[in-house]
């Protein structure tokens, strides 16, 4: 690690000011940022720890759905009775992130701001028609992820909370990377009345919706409805763990499993 100045503001306003410093970086649970610093791949002048800001914490019921503060740890989401009651699929997604240590530290805000192509939460943000509130504005979940490790956030913009709509039925099915335990493919299926959303993470540079799957499921919400459907392998991620055509295959398999789990 290179040396940096550590700051721990207690209000969002103070954090917003502190992050204006030339090469400052926000610190969430540190599960991505700290390994990056340890490997000397980043050199921030200041680290602004968001962990002491009450406004960024907590899980509330809002508009029938859920509002989850940016500095809410994955383990809190996984174990929250409220989440389990309102959107159980979200709790089970959180329970499947990384390992226990990662879940006890990593935060929702950090995860979506980081926009790792193989992170789990982006699928929930898109499938659950979420909105992301920041210290400056509100961003539709559909517009939030703009590419690999890229989001609609402006420099220094702080994610405050994420609001998820409550689906009638939903489930997340993940095929995890056996080494890192991130998603090789993760599929979040959510049904809102006649509308079905199928959001796919891990497979491509950024989360995307499998629209053909959505149409098929809107007509017939059963796994069989996906028979014969698949996403194109072209343009999907490929690495030593999974080729593009394997990922394409897994998208259909995981989508079916999610539909089955959603019941």
């Amino acid at each position: 690690m290179y040396a940096f100045t550590y700051q721990r503001p207690t209000s969002l306003a103070d954090a917003a000011t502190a992050i204006q410093a030339d090469e400052a970086k926000l610190l969430g649970g540190g599960q991505t940022l700290l390994p990056t610093l340890k490997q000397r791949l980043a050199r921030p002048t200041d680290l602004i720890d968001l962990g002491a800001i009450p406004d960024l914490k907590g899980i509330r019921e809002a508009d029938g759905g859920l509002e989850i503060g940016a500095f809410t740890r994955h383990a809190e989401v996984a174990h929250s009775d409220l989440v389990k009651r309102v959107i159980p699929a979200l709790a089970s997604l959180a329970e499947g992130i990384g390992d226990r240590q990662v879940r006890n530290m990593g935060t929702m805000g950090g995860s979506i701001a980081n926009a790792d192509p193989s992170a789990d939460y982006p699928s929930a943000v898109v499938a659950l028609k979420a909105t992301v509130t920041t210290d400056r504005r509100t961003i539709a979940g559909d517009d939030f992820f703009t590419g690999m490790f890229e989001t609609a956030l402006e420099p220094g913009e702080i994610v405050k909370a994420v609001r998820f709509s409550r689906p009638d039925k939903a489930a997340y099915a993940k095929f995890r990377n056996p080494a890192s335990r991130y998603a090789i493919v993760g599929v979040f299926v959510a049904r809102f009345g006649a509308e079905v959303r199928v959001a796919v993470t891990g497979a491509a540079g950024s989360v995307f919706r499998a629209t053909a799957f959505e149409t098929a499921l809107a007509a017939d919400f059963r796994a069989e409805a996906l028979n014969g459907l698949s996403v194109k392998a072209d343009g999907l991620n490929a690495d030593i763990h999974a080729s593009a055509d394997y990922r394409a295959h897994l998208v259909t398999v995981m989508a079916k499993r999610a539909v089955e789990a959603a019941g």
């Binding site: 690690m1 290179y2 040396a3 490997q39 000397r40 095929f175 056996p178 080494a179 890192s180 030593i240 763990h241 999974a242 080729s243 394997y246 295959h249 897994l250 398999v253």
Partner: protein, 796 residues
């Protein structure tokens, strides 16, 4: 009265209290006044010429004490890291032994090869400065794999090793094998890869060098499995320090799996640098360095053929292996794919003729050396995969073909055609115990039940035999070992009857502090709390050979028994004197010395006190003191053996393999501590399963870059990847040539497990026409064979 903590008791490991509460004393925990920190500048290229090193900026950085390079070492006449085993090629020529300098001089040969060391007040300062060292490299074409190394026209890793060949060796009777193949009714063939693995000890390597100006003594504290060997190699060959001026300490060591046997360049660098800078120098690897620079394991490419008669009796085995040694010869590298591999190719079978050829090559990758099992897992995997293929060829049940070819118990001692002589073993018994554990007759029913759920079920067997406690020294010497292979022990009774044992074997997770103490407690009838086991310090211990090859108990334990014999002999003399009886009339049992037929007796504690407070002592006949030392050189290897069975289920939609049952039946000879043995087996099995399903060290063939350089890509097995194991052992076949009758258990799990798992994977996929799959059986690989075979299946 049996000692509650004696031989055979499942005593909980005494050392675990300190390990589990964070009170272990590891090399990196050692702090010295005025200590400095070393960080190595390492090559980012697999192969490059060093045109120049500019460290002026680095040397001017805050806190920097020194920046040292290979040129400084050369000026100080620092030598090359020696190789401890010499192999001769078929044509009689000695192996190629290119120099391996602790800091590279003119060329770097793998990513991670050290070119300079920065020494600073803090580790972070050393890192900051290391980034400022500018090395001018001329990149050269690289060799990233063994197959590329021998692909005519490949670049040369060492100019003086033509075709990148280190040696081209063979073992066995080629003519007899050729003749048997000519008359064979059936031949089974296999091509397989035993992939490279990264050892991944929990504690990364670390070393601290100290130099005392007043006495001229050096101290190296290091993560070593054998401190004496490190002292000998580094002192005599690298730094030219006489052994009485060099102390090597290996305190608590957090796992090694072989990777900490070897003498590494960093140890020499910190020891040498400590004198250069006049201050203690410490280096601790980070995990990325461990991936790049710990000696890796395995990395064989093999072709094998088994000749059989019409009834499936094995007639001859022919094996040809290409072994990757990496960029330089690590300490014991040449012995692994030769004497620890080809000599095991008989396995548990009475195959009358065997011929093996091994070509070992240099590549631009991290050196390869012993990794848990070291050669024997490679042999077991090859034989047991081939036997499964053979069962298919002759249409026999996989257990029957094994049983038919086992060396029968009655044939022991059995001379194999590949040099070894097995002393004991009842292989049929292992299988007989294993079969009910897995309900073999019920397998077809379970397979059908899985199929009904859309899953593929397979069962796989592996029988193994290994050779542990490499020995005797004279034989090993004749085969090229440049070291002895004995072990030492000293048993020191203190005046009040407690005991300190000094052992030359080394514990880095094996539990010696418990097991060795049990042996002493049993012998002398004393509480285990009164026995302390000391290891890992060349200033305290007679010359020992350390721990590897499952040798600690078989060799180190035997030395301990010899030392205890000497103690008892002397104690008997003292007792005879004190009890005024003839020595021959003294009976000894559980540490009590009794005059036969009387109630006159003395405990060992009384005798110890007399020995050290010799007020009434026959000084003309006996020296005071009760402190004896012994060296034990084994008569033969020991031969642990067993039968492992794996049952698993494959999800054809994803290719994911789930192990549902795993049974291991082992013959380790006599067992001192069943709990520790079971733990060793569990750990070994997980490592074997890791190789079969998860682990794979991948280098880019062209660039020589390590692709799997972190846990994001290198997949370690985890607790939730493995089932609850069923582990059994029997003690029917104790080793015949060591006093404890023990065989060793440290590597067994790793040796049998990978083959059992892969045989089960292939069995599960047999409906798809699969007869072999290389490890690891990753989900994508499995899914692909299913997908590619499915149209053919549908057409049937």
């Amino acid at each position: 009265m049996a000692n509650p903590n004696g031989i055979g008791a499942s005593v909980r490991r005494r050392e675990d209290q300190r390990f589990l509460t964070g009170r272990g004393n590891y090399t990196d925990d050692f702090k010295r006044l005025n200590m400095t920190h070393a960080v190595h500048v390492r090559s980012p290229y697999a192969h490059a010429r060093i045109l120049g090193i500019d460290f002026a900026d680095a040397a001017a950085m805050p806190g920097v004490v020194a920046v040292l390079t290979g040129a400084d070492m050369e000026a100080d006449k620092v030598g090359s890291l020696p190789c401890g085993w010499q192999i001769h090629s078929k044509d009689g020529s000695p192996m190629k032994e290119p120099p391996h300098y602790p800091l590279a001089r003119d060329r770097v040969r793998y990513v991670g090869d050290a070119v300079a060391v920065v020494i600073a007040e803090t580790r972070e300062q050393a890192r900051d400065a290391a980034e400022m060292v500018v090395v001018d490299y001329e990149e050269l074409p690289a060799v990233g794999s063994s197959t590329r190394a021998i692909d005519g026209g490949a670049p040369l890793v060492h100019d003086d090793a033509p075709d990148n060949v280190c040696f081209d060796w063979h073992l066995g009777d080629k003519a007899a094998v050729d003749a048997a193949f000519a008359n064979a009714a059936h031949v089974a063939r296999i091509d397989l890869v035993n992939q490279r693995l990264v050892p991944n000890a929990m504690e990364p390597r670390a070393a601290m060098g100290e130099y005392d100006q007043s006495s001229g003594e050096y101290t190296l504290t290091t993560t070593s499995q054998n401190p004496h060997v490190t002292r000998l190699l580094m002192g005599a060959f690298v730094l030219g320090i006489p052994e009485h001026k060099l102390r090597v300490m290996a305190p608590d060591v957090g796992g090694g799996f072989g990777s900490k046997i070897f003498h590494y360049g960093e140890e020499a660098v910190v020891t040498w640098a400590a004198r250069r800078v006049g201050r203690p120098v410490k280096w601790t690897a980070d995990r990325s360095e461990s991936f790049l620079t710990d000696a890796h394991g395995r990395d064989h490419v093999s072709h094998a053929e088994l000749a059989m008669d019409a009834d499936g009796n094995f007639l001859a085995l022919r094996v040809s292996t290409l072994a990757n040694l990496g960029a330089y010869l690590s300490t014991f590298a040449p012995s692994i794919p030769t004497y620890l591999y080809a000599t095991l190719l008989a396995g548990q079978y009475k195959t009358p003729a065997i011929y093996a050829e091994v070509k070992a090559v240099f590549t631009n990758t991290s050196p390869v050396d012993a990794y848990r099992g070291a050669g024997r897992p490679e042999a077991c995997y090859l034989i047991e995969r081939l036997v499964d293929v053979a069962a298919g060829v002759v249409g026999m049940d996989k257990t029957e073909i094994r049983r038919r070819n086992f060396v029968p118990k009655e044939a022991m001692p059995y001379q194999t055609p590949v040099a070894l002589q097995y002393d004991t073993g009842d292989f049929a018994k292992n299988l007989d115990i294993a079969l009910p554990l897995v309900d073999y007759p019920g397998f077809q029913r379970r397979r059908a039940e899985s199929k009904a759920r859309g899953k593929l079920r397979g069962i796989g067997f592996a029988t193994y035999i290994e050779a542990c406690g490499i020995a005797p020294s004279n034989v090993a010497g004749a085969l090229g070992a440049r070291a002895g292979l004995y072990e030492c022990a000293e048993v020191r009774f203190h005046p009040t009857g407690s005991v300190t044992v000094f052992t030359g074997s080394h514990s880095h997770g094996q539990g010696h502090e418990t097991t060795f103490a049990q042996i002493v407690a049993e012998r002398f009838g004393i509480p285990i709390e009164n026995v302390e086991i000391v290891h890992g310090d060349t200033n305290k211990i007679p010359f020992g050979m350390g721990t590897y090859g499952s040798r600690s108990l078989a060799v180190g334990g035997s030395a301990l028994v010899k030392a205890m014999d000497k103690v008892e002999r002397k104690a008997r003399k003292i007792a005879a004197h004190m009890l005024e009886a003839a020595e021959t009339d003294i009976e000894v049992k559980d540490g009590r010395f009794t005059v036969a037929g009387t109630d006159k007796s003395l405990g060992i504690g009384d005798i110890a006190l007399q020995a050290y407070v010799p007020h009434n002592f026959p000084l003309d006949e006996l020296e005071p003191g009760l402190d004896e030392q012994a060296f034990y050189d084994p008569k033969n290897f020991t031969y642990p053996n067993g039968c492992h069975v794996c049952e698993l289920e494959i999800d054809p939609d994803t290719g994911v393999t789930t192990i549902v049952n795993f049974a291991a039946v082992d013959d380790f000879g006599n067992v001192i501590n069943p709990l520790i043995v079971e733990g060793q087996v569990h750990g070994g099995l997980v490592q074997g399963i890791g190789q079969a399903l998860y682990e794979n060290c991948v280098y880019d063939e062209e660039s020589g870059q390590l692709v799997t350089g972190s846990y994001m890509d290198y997949c370690m097995p985890r607790a939730d990847d493995v089932p609850s194991f069923t582990v059994r052992y029997h003690e029917d076949q104790p080793c015949t040539h060591n006093p404890l009758g023990v065989k060793g258990c440290g590597e067994a799990g790793t040796i049998g497990a990978a083959a059992a798992v892969m045989n089960a994977v292939v069995d599960a996929l047999s409906d798809y026409g699969v007869t072999h799959m290389d490890m690891p059986a990753t989900p994508e690989k499995v899914w692909r064979v299913i997908r590619d075979a499915t149209p053919a299946m549908a057409a049937e």
